[in-house]
Symmetry: D2
Subunit: 152 residues, 4 copies
């Protein structure tokens, strides 16, 4: 743990909070369809934790994931820089964020941001965003509006 904290510039208390909060957030999931609970906790630049869980829908594609709930909260509360992301599920080995969430995270996090994935027993895997979504594109990739032909 101490080595992990050093590698990713986190304090042990922050790491433990990421673990315990993401695990606790599972209890707030609304997932009657998949019955697959996911909890997420993110650590902002100024050391606040913001949590989320999956919220499903009878029309499956309309539901949303834990990571997007947490980042939706964080961004609309004014946060734009983040130190770490944690995701927890009830399976082992740990589940990773889906591709859609990796893309959502990409909009706001540096490529070096660590993403911790905790399994049901608290064991974890950690990867940086650039490892989970290589060759990604984000806000900087779109051509500036002026360079495009007028709409319609």
């Amino acid at each position: 743990i101490s080595k992990v904290c050093e590698t990713y510039s986190l304090k042990p208390t922050q790491f433990h909070a990421l673990h315990s909060r993401s695990a606790a957030a599972k209890a707030t999931a609304y997932c009657p369809y998949s019955r697959f609970r996911v909890g997420c906790s993110i650590l902002t630049e100024n050391d606040q934790h913001i949590d989320g869980a999956n919220v499903e829908n009878a029309a499956y594609p309309v539901g949303t994931c834990a990571e997007r709930v947490a980042f939706g909260k964080a961004v609309t509360e004014g946060h734009r820089k983040f130190k770490a992301v944690a995701v927890a599920t009830d399976i082992s080995p740990p589940a990773s964020p889906c591709g859609m969430c990796r893309q959502f995270i990409r909009e706001f996090c540096e490529l070096q941001t660590p993403i911790f994935m905790f399994d049901k027993d608290g064991n974890f895997v950690v990867m940086r965003l650039e490892q989970l979504l290589p060759l990604s594109f984000g806000p900087e990739a779109l051509p500036p509006p002026g360079s495009l032909p007028a709409r319609g």
Copy 2:
């Protein structure tokens, strides 16, 4: 206003809070692509207000709307019953929730729930959920799992 409050069982202070909070929430939007700010405020059964705004993404379909951000927060904070929803934008006549958000709201709100749509000047239109999403389906519509053949 007093007539509206009576029709929808709201106190005037609640109505005004729905208006001012949804309008204020526009300032929390992240919408560099559409530059179309949307704010949302929802009133829970126990008279709490929970707000949200749209959070866009360089991959447009990955972004999310104000209503889903607000309901994502509310549901993962334990709320399951709601008195009213308000949405505010910078145009006139007021914009309505997109179909995807109407479906997301449908999962958690009674069909009679009023949805207030405020324009840039504070004028509004109000419709009940069942009017915005007629003939809808929600959690009760899916066949119980036991009635379906085994997966795969």
Copy 3:
């Protein structure tokens, strides 16, 4: 049936094709998670039928619905005007398109376009798009790009 065809300006053969093709399209669904098959058939302005079915994903929100598969095909094959939409499922009463699909359809269909919803026995309900998605917004609703402040 003949009255329905008259009301919605369809030939009986077109109506029957909408029914049989949307019902047949159910067999092409990929839905191991919900086990809820949906078939869709749309009739283009020049009397072509284009079909689709739901395609689900292990990450539920990443999946797509029958209607969006069918319209995705149709639009990328060059169609922009449509006479009717049909959806078929294995339940009764018939299921309606989810809100997300109503919005997707709204981009391309006139508000008067009929949407037929067939149940497992071939009985149906029909509503016009404007009835299924009242007070909707579409391509015409967004402010023209030039009227917005520069990005960033």
Copy 4:
């Protein structure tokens, strides 16, 4: 090119078709909002090509990407095994599939499947699915239904 074809078990004619078809498919995009055209072509196990392009929506999150249009077509036409995917855009360096599409593709393709990304001049980058979406989860990852507690 011949080395690339050898590495990914493609014939040169197949590679050229992937390039020319994905580039041509850009012309079928409906993208009035981003004005960012994307074309996609996929090669099925039995050597059929199926193409798609992005189809946007006034409600940005409701739109869909080229890759999901193409796979939606392919899957509902009965294809379940694929040899290669190609994506083409009007920028350079080439754009990669968004995270949501990587997840959609993950449901149907082997991890070794090559994904070609062509830029505006026909130059390309190629990566295998497992490189674009490492540590991914797919259909095999979800616990079998019977192992979960009853819904609700």
